[in-house]
Symmetry: C2
Subunit: 204 residues, 2 copies
DNA sequence: ATCTTTGCTAACCAAATGGTTAAACTTTAT
DNA sequence: ATAAAGTTTAACCATTTGGTTAGCAAAGAT
């Protein structure tokens, strides 16, 4: 066998699986559909990944490992809270526009099986808001920020950035717009969200 | 047959179905599990609701009809934006603590089948943000609010209130807390969220 | 009392689905 | 060239699953 062909099939499968799992979820996904999309025999899925469960986990870990660095930007770099908020909101929204099914996939599957988060925390050491909380406390003390609780602020940042994508059908219905209009709305939010947050927490 | 027994079985089924569908989703739910939970024979599910799809739709419409009035509070009553935000945040969070699976269920299933939203808009006439947007524009003009886009504000209000429940496993992991601590955090948010929003948009 | 309608169950069915196997084909090593 | 190892497929299998059926049981109507 050629090493290249090898990798190709295995990766083909992973890509197809990603496609199907992210749109249909674990329960809705069909092995046959993944095989068809990868252009191979169904037995190959088991040859490379043993079972649906393991293939799913491969896809899930892959997805999460894309998201984690985004979150780390806000948790563990050294810029000011204001800069973090600005950068994160802009970057994150750009990121999701490129991977639209990702947040929903992760949230849906974490709700289906909350134990997954344990696996993740073991592999992804740095998902820790302690530093962020300490920094918020410090900037509050320094009079840069109004009195603000770090964990609530973090939840708010995530909420404002992630929610619209997770609830996309709902948002589209309320704002009465199509995919085009939705994308425009999200582009607006790249600056809108950070301004909204900064206005709320910055001392003036 | 007694008319009461009649109603009882049908409702028993709906309650069991609600339970199973809301935790497992359409694809993960099993008719047998619903029957077991309702304490009846599987054939009864079809006797009363014909098919899994129709039973699911009954549950879904039921769930949405619980949520809709909550949203209407913020869209179509006559209080000021500030009061709306305060009331909505407090009421909505109380409401969800009582129905914890609801937002996730609705969002998950709307993503699975975006056409559902059409059915809903036909039955639930008043899911319309026009009045809210007009009110925001007016209060901006009057100098009560800073320049603010109505639709973005509405998205933000939803995001801040709904997201933590949808992403509960994620939030729990980040904040490193259990169900107790999560609930406390959400109780805090009843006032926290509205203050956060008001601080951001109110002219001072 | 008995006849009809309605509620309910056990047993059954066909299709779908995740997974396996045996054999063929390819590539690599000797 | 040939053997060994890795890759791929068609056919198959057992189980699960949504759904049906035929008949029993209970209640209401006559």
């Amino acid at each position: 066998m050629t090493k290249t062909k090898d990798k190709n099939t295995e990766e083909q499968i992973l890509m197809a699986a990603k496609d199907v799992f992210q749109t249909k979820g674990m329960d809705g996904a069909r092995m046959q559909e993944i095989a068809d999309k990868a252009g191979i025999n169904k037995a190959m899925l088991h040859y490379y990944y043993r079972s649906k469960q393991l293939l799913f986990e491969a896809v899930f870990k892959n997805a999460f490992s894309l998201l984690a660095p985004q979150l780390n930007k806000i948790l563990n770099d050294n810029s000011s809270i204001e800069d973090k908020v600005k950068n994160f909101s802009s970057n994150y929204i750009s990121f999701i526009i490129k991977h639209p099914y990702l947040p929903n996939f992760i949230i849906q599957e974490l709700n289906r099986n909350p134990d997954f988060i344990k696996n993740i925390q073991e592999n992804n050491s740095i998902l820790n808001i302690d530093k962020f909380k300490a920094q918020v406390a410090l900037e509050v003390e320094q009079g840069i920020l109004k009195p603000t609780k770090g964990d609530q602020l973090f939840i708010n940042i995530l909420a404002l950035n992630i929610f619209p994508f997770v609830a996309k059908p709902l948002v589209k219905a309320f704002v009465k717009t199509d995919d085009q209009g939705f994308k425009k709305l999200m582009e607006q939010r790249k600056t809108e969200v950070s301004e909204f947050i900064i206005h709320s927490i910055k001392q003036h």
